[in-house]
Amino acid sequence: MEEELARAWIAAVTAAVRTEADRLTELDTAIGDGDHGVNLRRGFDAAAAAVDSLAPGSAGDVLGKTGTTLLSKVGGASGPLYGTLFRALGKTLRAGGSLAEGLQAALDGVRQLGKAAPGDKTMVDALTPAVAAYAAAAGEGEADAARAAADAAAQGARATVPMQARKGRASYLGERSIGHQDPGATSTALILAALADVTARGPAR
């Protein structure tokens, strides 16, 4: 991944999070504490600013910086989780890995930290199919792979509706968590949609 594409991705996620913050918060109000939109807005605003003032380097640097910033600024469970996601991506890219490898490392990191499995109604339910779809489509080029990942994430997010939460705050609701879409899975879908958009456009200059 090129550095400019990474910068464009973070900018696009930040814009999407701003647009969708209210919806994310609404979803979190239904089965959580109603702060997911606020958390991510604070986190990505800070990440975008940090990336803007980051000296030119590599895509790995940009994504690592994003992860570190999210980690300290988000304030909710999604902070360390997305922090881990972007740090793992950054680390893999810096070590010369591919984006497909980076996404796999990101998923592994998120799962190791949060101990959630698919079906637990968390961001893992969007991230897992997205990573698999990217890997499956990687041979068709970055743009197609990113679009496939975004579609899979969106579908994974929708698939959380009938699930009962077994991790995170929503799990306090037991069966009453059924019938609502998971906020974190929803924001994961936004993040991958942003990746697909900027990859389709090519890096912004």
Binding site: T29, G32, D33, G34, D35, R169, Y172, L173, R176
Partner: protein, 127 residues
Amino acid sequence: MVGIVLVSHSERLAHGLRDMLVQVAGEEVPIEAAGGTDDGGLGTSYDRILVAIDRADRGAGVLVLTDLGSAVLTARTVLEDRVANDAVLVDAPFVEGAVAAAVLAGTGAGLDEVTQAAVEARDVRKL
């Protein structure tokens, strides 16, 4: 809606926990802090507990949680003295039980279900 009363030796602790609960349960659940002694020192206050229970009581019952066993003694005395007997003391972890209870109360669940949620919080693993 079931009310929740937080009996703590510390006024700050009780209010901080209340802030957290309001965030998860919403403003409709009556959640009252009864922390500290009459003059705000560390300890428990019969009068603060009584006032808190009366305030949290909207007719669907009140769940009383305590931070330590020594707070139980004051709370139990208040409950025994109180004429309306729709408030119950629960043996549950203070923070974890209160969060679970507040979430359930916010869904409109009854006193039994809310109490059970608080008790079961003991067995929920964090790690």
